[in-house]
């Protein structure tokens, strides 16, 4: 597979490109997508919101618990013990929405501006574009999600320490839960990317993602019977967030099983999305 030599190789073209022809790879597309991700404002804003929500909720929830603890009766204290991990990661269910918006917009903003045609003209192998986007999006949200989760955790423990409710990273399951929180945020962005590939539109993509991660999961608890119990365990965020929880609960999958289930969710969405993107005209 060789290209015909550049027609300008010998002519005095004002913009001849010398040297051997480079056959671009997926890595080149990853580099391109990385530059694209960090040169639009929405990336900065959604990631900033993710950090602010994670840390802010940790402060709010931990401070409120510390402040009200002494007003509770002994029975109430017994029934609702303070969980230092879940209090410090209380922002997760809102922060997931910020990263999911970023995931949707990584692809939908290209469709809404027409930039997708520039992208697919430069990289006609469309699956490469999806891989490039998924890699840079997943890694970026993983890093930001981990930072946000650890900061939220430590800030929360500082507050809880005033009443000696703080937990340490070395305590059972704690490190896994804080890491899991960052891992879950990264997975949410890929969930959003999958929805975005399918619907191609920011409004629709965000609406569907919020419904799928935030609105629907609590509603599944209302489905009666054992079938209902299973649906409730396996549905999107219920499965995915189990990796960021400590202790065991009968209505929750194990941490890594849950995370694996959520991984299947976003992998299927991205798979279907890629199939559609390759078939559709742009």
């Amino acid at each position: 597979m060789t290209l015909p030599a550049s027609p300008t190789a010998n002519a005095a073209s004002p913009f001849a490109l010398d040297g051997p022809v480079h056959h671009p790879t997926t890595l080149d597309v990853v580099r391109s997508e990385w530059l694209k991700l960090r040169t639009v404002r929405s990336t900065f804003w959604t990631l900033a919101v993710t950090v602010v929500v994670m840390v802010g909720f940790s402060v709010l929830v931990c401070a409120a618990q510390v402040a009200t603890w002494d007003q509770l009766t002994a029975e109430e204290q017994q029934a609702n013990p303070i969980n230092g991990v879940s209090s410090a990661l209380a922002g997760l269910s809102l922060a997931q929405l910020a990263v999911v918006v970023l995931g949707v917009m990584v692809i939908s903003s290209e469709y809404s501006t027409g930039g997708i045609r520039s992208t697919f003209t430069a990289v006609p192998r469309r699956a490469r574009v999806v891989v490039g986007k998924a890699v840079v999006l997943g890694l970026s949200t993983l890093v930001v999600g981990l930072v946000a989760s650890f900061v939220a955790f430590f800030v929360g423990q500082l507050i809880l320490a005033t009443k000696h409710f703080d937990v340490a990273l070395g305590d059972p399951d704690v490190l896994r839960a804080v890491l899991g929180s960052g891992l879950y945020l990264a997975a949410c962005s890929l969930f959003g990317l999958g929805i975005g590939l399918i619907v191609r539109n920011t409004g629709g993509g965000v609406t569907i993602s919020v419904a799928a991660l935030f609105v629907l999961p609590p509603l599944t608890a209302l489905i009666p019977g054992t079938v209902g119990d299973q649906i409730q365990k396996f549905i999107t965020s219920n499965a995915g967030q189990s990796v960021a929880a400590t202790g065991s609960a009968p209505d929750r999958l194990g941490p890594w099983v849950g995370y694996l289930v959520f991984t299947v969710w976003w992998l299927v969405l991205i798979g279907v999305g890629t199939w559609l993107v390759r078939r559709r005209d742009v």
């Binding site: 480079h22 997508e33 003209t121 430069a122």
Partner: protein, 326 residues
């Protein structure tokens, strides 16, 4: 080399491109001409794989564009200058495109300089004028020093200086041995740029010929003469070998020059009130060629001869599809 073979694209009940076949050769500027809605953009989108043909094939250097091992080294395409993310600066847009094909960042400065965009390279594309956007699209297309260049209506929105710049650029690209396909709905624009013409209407091929042939067939001149003694003059001109058609109060004379007509009249003492050479309008010839295939005809009024009508009302080139607004 671009080869289009029995290419067909159907949107629902609309046949946008209908069994179209042509070849675009290197070293020439090939004009791709047709009224709005004729299927030019759809054809170009299929060549670069943005749209999938209903049937038929479009290949570049013998293979589908999607199979190219180095897409931007092979083809530079300007399909729609608005197809960019407006939130990014021109330089970052070009860098992203360059990186996707492993082209060095130095290429970005080269094409920015070439298109005269250096000064605005750091500005967000959102604030660009139509002309600046058009230049950015051309800069993007030239990033990879491609052997095949394809521009869809590149002069849209450009000022006279910009139009002249594009014309020279296209001529230069062809002179360097590249394959150049450029679309337009204006014959007058093509007449000054193209070596070869491909004319389509309603998605079908209407003509595939060299500009020289087109001019020979359609660009003939004739003499218009006005005389108070028309009826005496006409047989004299016919006797001298001209063909004469009365056109209102003037005679349209083919086959004789102004000088010959004037001399004949003088020799017979006939007064002339007007005598001039009339060049056929290429625009009119083009419209004659495409009249039956205009997608959005302007009613039943035939266009007056030899006058450049404005093009039909602007309409998306892709019937049945909505254009994405930025």
């Amino acid at each position: 080399m671009i080869e289009v073979e029995a290419l067909t694209k159907r949107y629902g009940s609309t046949l946008a491109v209908d069994d179209l076949s042509f070849t675009v050769r290197p070293g020439l500027v090939t004009g791709f001409l047709g009224p709005n809605g004729a299927g030019k953009s759809t054809t170009m989108r299929m060549v670069v794989g943005l749209d999938h043909p209903t049937s038929g094939t479009a290949t570049i250097n013998g293979r589908p564009y999607a199979a190219s091992p180095a897409p931007l080294r092979e083809v530079g395409a300007l399909i729609d200058a608005k197809d960019v993310h407006g939130g990014r600066s021109a330089r970052n847009h070009l860098r992203a495109v360059a990186r996707s094909n492993g082209l060095p960042d130095s290429r970005v400065d080269t094409v920015l300089g070439l298109t005269g965009l250096d000064a605005v390279a750091g500005r967000r594309i959102k604030g660009f004028s139509l002309g600046m956007g058009q230049r950015l699209g051309i800069a993007t297309a030239l990033l990879g020093d491609p052997g095949v260049v394809m521009f869809d209506e590149p002069v849209n929105g450009l000022d006279p200086e910009g139009i002249l710049w594009i014309r020279n650029l296209l001529r230069g690209l062809a002179a360097e041995g590249r394959t150049v396909l450029v679309s337009s709905h204006l014959m007058s624009e093509m007449a000054q740029t193209a070596d070869h013409l491909i004319v389509i209407g309603r998605g079908r091929l209407l003509a595939d010929l060299s500009m020289t042939d087109f001019l020979e067939q359609n660009g003939r001149t004739h003499v218009q003469v006005k005389s108070p003694r028309q009826d005496d003059l006409a047989p004299l001109l016919r006797a001298a070998g001209g063909t004469v058609e009365p056109d209102h109060d003037v005679l349209a004379v083919h086959g004789l020059t102004c000088e010959q007509v004037g001399d004949i009249a003088a020799a017979h003492g006939l007064a002339l009130h007007q005598l001039f050479e009339q060049r056929a309008s290429l625009e009119a010839a083009f419209m004659d060629m495409t009249r039956d295939s205009v997608e959005y005809g302007s009613g039943s009024l035939p266009p007056p001869p030899d006058s450049a009508l404005p093009p039909p009302p602007d309409s998306p080139d892709r019937p049945g599809a909505t254009e994405v607004a930025p």
